[in-house]
Each structure stands twice: as structure tokens, then as C-alpha cells.
């Protein structure tokens, strides 16, 4: 349970970081909060040639409002995002998801960029950024790319980020009037890996659901937008019938992976239960607006 021998560099600028990534590519790992990376190193599940510590790069953290978007620097700690007034007011889904991200000691170190770049299928933030149509910025010596969150997650711990690219920031559209956010997760213990979870952004006009984005996590290999479940409820008032239709349609959207947390059938059942609950929550919030 000790890391392998490794070479370590603490970088002083983004430019220096990009040069190192360009040179070492796949052989290098970025050390941000390290709260997922270090366990894998301690367990010898990975052995990078070079560890590039970016914790001194203050320009990569910070949460600001830019027009109708919130910009979150990749190195912003989970604790900073959780405590941010900007996030609480403009991105209520993220604020609601954050307490589920591990425990306080981990949130004090772990970063939003690290969570998104890692793409753990049980992680909360990848699902939120897909549900919120966020844009993820990566940089390399070749230039900068802005990638839609929906295109970013490619599979189990796989993303569109290339080995020479550094994730630098996330831009998330602010919640619009008429849109409600809700986030739910099931785990055995607060802060543990999710067994099932859903991030929901719904447009509700009176009692009619006019649009619904339901993004499920912890069951597929990546955050998964449920188009069939959404189609089953959009254009109708939320009712017991809508609930049954959405739960039935979900088996066309999800094919959960078995893992230590449960079987495929068990997870599909839980995701169905969460679907009903999260939409109840969304409707309640729309009524309260």
C-alpha cells in the first residue's frame, strides 16, 4: 500500500505543464487533489513515469460569473465549490450534488477538474456537467479546445481529453427561469461510491413537463442521458401514468454494469425508483417557484 517510485515535478505555470505533457504524454499523470489518483498509486494500479503537481497554479482555480455562464477553474477544490454563493444561486444542481462527493477531508483537497478528467462512472460531477450542457476546456501546446460535456465522456475512465492536454476550466450555463434542477443519489453510507444516481434539469410550464434532461450515473460506463425516459414524460402533466411510463422506458436507456455495489437488475430497479423521486422533487420545486 505504498506508491511505486516516481519522478515528481511541481510546475510553476500552465505553459510549463503543457510542455511536460507534450513531452511525456501517456507516461505522465497530473496530480491535482490526488484524492483518486493517490489511492490508485498506493494500490499500484498505475505507475506513471512522471507526476506533474499543478497545485501551485492558482490561475487554474476560482469561480466567477461570466455573462450567463459560471466559469469554474479546474483546480477549484470541492469544498470551495460547495461553499460558493455563486454556485448555490446559479447552479443549484451542483450545490445539491456536492455533499455527496466523498467526505469533508477529501473535499478539502479534491478538485472539480480532477473529478471530470478522471471520469469515474460513479462520480457525481460528470453527470451534472452533462445534464447542465457544460463546456469543458482543455489546453495543450497545440492549442485550446472547448468540448461539450455530452461529447467529453467516452467510457470507463475514458474521456475526449488527449494525453498531452490539461483540463483547465469548466463553463456551465446558469439555471434559467422556468428550469428546475434536482439531484439524487443512493449509496450505502453518505459519501461512499454511488450505487445509483441521477441529475435532472427539467423545464416545467404549469404542470406540464416541457423538457427533461435525466442523466444517470453509477450504472453505465459513463454518465448517460436517458432519451426514452424523457420522451415518455415530455409534453404531459406529471402523473402516476407518467411515472410508470418513465420507469418502463428507462430499460431502453440503461443497461447497468454489475459491480460490487449490486447486480444489473438491482441497479436498474434503483435508477427507476430514483427517476420517480427526482421528478417528484422537480415538480415540487417548480410549484414553489
Amino acid at each position: 500500500m505504498k506508491s511505486p517510485k516516481l519522478t515528481y515535478v511541481r510546475t510553476r505555470s500552465v505553459a510549463q505543464t503543457l510542455e511536460l505533457l507534450s513531452k511525456h504524454g501517456d507516461g505522465a499523470n497530473i496530480l491535482a487533489g490526488g484524492q483518486s489518483l493517490m489511492p490508485t498509486l498506493n494500490m499500484r494500479l498505475s505507475k506513471p513515469d512522471l507526476l506533474i503537481d499543478i497545485n501551485q497554479l492558482d490561475e487554474l482555480s476560482g469561480i466567477t460569473v461570466e455573462g450567463d455562464m459560471v466559469r469554474i477553474g479546474a483546480l477549484s477544490r470541492h469544498a470551495a465549490v460547495l461553499g460558493s454563493q455563486i454556485v448555490a444561486e446559479r447552479l443549484p444542481m451542483i450545490a445539491e450534488a456536492m455533499p455527496h462527493v466523498a467526505h469533508v477531508a477529501v473535499r478539502n483537497r479534491g478538485t472539480i477538474g480532477g473529478s471530470i478528467a478522471l471520469a469515474d462512472p460513479a462520480a457525481e460531477l460528470p453527470a451534472c456537467v452533462v445534464a447542465l450542457d457544460a463546456t469543458i476546456t482543455v489546453e495543450s501546446v497545440r492549442g485550446q479546445r472547448n468540448i461539450a460535456a455530452a461529447d467529453f465522456f467516452k467510457g470507463l475512465f475514458e474521456t475526449e481529453r488527449q494525453p498531452d492536454e490539461l483540463l483547465t476550466e469548466i463553463r456551465i450555463p446558469c439555471q434559467k427561469p422556468g428550469t428546475v434542477h434536482a439531484f439524487m443519489e443512493l449509496s450505502r453510507r453518505q459519501g461512499d461510491f454511488a450505487i445509483a444516481g441521477v441529475a435532472c434539469a427539467a423545464d416545467i410550464d404549469g404542470e406540464i413537463v416541457t423538457d427533461a434532461k435525466l442523466v444517470y450515473f453509477a450504472s453505465e460506463d459513463r454518465p448517460t442521458l436517458a432519451l426514452n425516459a424523457a420522451a415518455a414524460i415530455v409534453g404531459r402533466p406529471w402523473s402516476e401514468q407518467s411515472r410508470s411510463s418513465a420507469m418502463a422506458a428507462l430499460s431502453d436507456d440503461l443497461d447497468p454494469m454489475d459491480n460490487l455495489q449490486g447486480s444489473s437488475a438491482f441497479k436498474l430497479h434503483l435508477q427507476r425508483v430514483l427517476s420517480g423521486r427526482v421528478l417528484d422533487q422537480a415538480i415540487d420545486r417548480a410549484r414553489a417557484q
Binding site: A102, V104, A105, V106
Partner: protein, 158 residues
């Protein structure tokens, strides 16, 4: 080996460490601060929790080299920390420890709860404690001890 300079329990420490050395191993083996306990060494059990720059952190999943310039507080350096001493007394009074292995880290998490969440109730205390495992399962006493300190502090403020 890389040179490292940091404050440990209010004293400056300068040392050379291998990059792969965790903060926990550095503090236990080179500084003899064995009140830091290692359970799982992958950030799950919480037994290695200490204060890094005043905030609880898992010392088993932080490299010592990345703590250059940091301010570290371990249980050995907490005798003049009034919140920790109040918690220690409450843990004693309310039977908040059995084998004691999880206790130093429980105290740091408890310190975070009483300072960050002064209005917390027992249910919230349990939620916040979820990141620290007590394998004696002595949570009832731990929660009572933390609640006692919270209530004392609220009474003092009134």
C-alpha cells in the same frame, strides 16, 4: 530526494523526502508523530486525518513533497487547541473511545464539525462523521461527545 520545508505543530521542519513518501509516513516515521494512524492507506477509513493548513485532510493520500510550505497540526500538537481539548474531555466523559485507534482522527473531524457547523444536530453529526470509521462501532458515544461540545459552545454564545 527532494527538500521540503513546512510547519509541523508550530515548529519549522526542513527535511529531504522521496517523492513517493506520503505525508502520513513522513510524519510518523521521520517526525515520530505516531498519533497519526494508518488503516486503509487509500483514503477510505479516515484514521490518518490531520489538519493541513487548518482543514482536515487525509495524510495517507497526500504526498509530503506537495506540502512544501504547509502548516500541519497533529494530535501531538493540539494541547493548546481549546476545541480539541474540550472534545477530548467530552470523549472521555461520554465514552467516545474504545480501542482508541480511530480517536485522533475522529477528534479532527469533530473539531471541523463543531467549528464549521455550530448548529448541527445529532443526525448531521452522524452524516459528517461518515468519513471516519470506528471498527469498535462506538459511534453512539462519539456522537454524544460531539453533541455535548456543540451544546456547551451554543450555551456559551447565548
Amino acid at each position: 530526494m527532494m527538500e521540503l520545508s513546512l510547519s509541523v505543530n508550530s515548529e519549522t521542519v526542513v527535511a529531504k523526502v522521496e517523492p513517493r513518501t506520503t505525508l502520513a509516513d513522513f510524519l510518523r516515521e521521520k517526525q515520530r508523530l505516531t498519533g497519526i494512524h494508518l488503516g486503509c492507506e487509500h483514503g477510505v477509513c479516515g484514521a490518518c486525518t490531520i489538519l493541513v493548513d487548518g482543514e482536515p485532510a487525509r495524510s495517507c493520500i497526500i504526498y509530503a513533497v506537495s506540502c512544501d510550505g504547509a502548516d500541519i497540526q497533529t494530535i501531538e500538537g493540539s494541547n493548546s487547541d481549546p476545541v480539541i481539548t474540550a472534545l477530548q474531555e467530552a470523549f472521555t466523559a461520554h465514552h467516545g473511545l474504545q480501542c482508541g485507534y480511530c480517536t485522533p482522527a475522529m477528534l479532527f473531524t469533530a473539531r471541523d464539525i463543531v467549528t464549521r457547523l455550530p448548529e448541527a444536530d445529532a443526525e448531521r453529526v452522524r452524516l459528517e462523521l461518515a468519513g471516519n470509521i470506528c471498527r469498535c462501532t462506538g459511534y453512539a458515544g462519539i456522537v454524544r461527545a460531539i453533541m455535548a461540545v456543540l451544546e456547551d459552545r451554543r450555551a456559551t454564545l447565548e
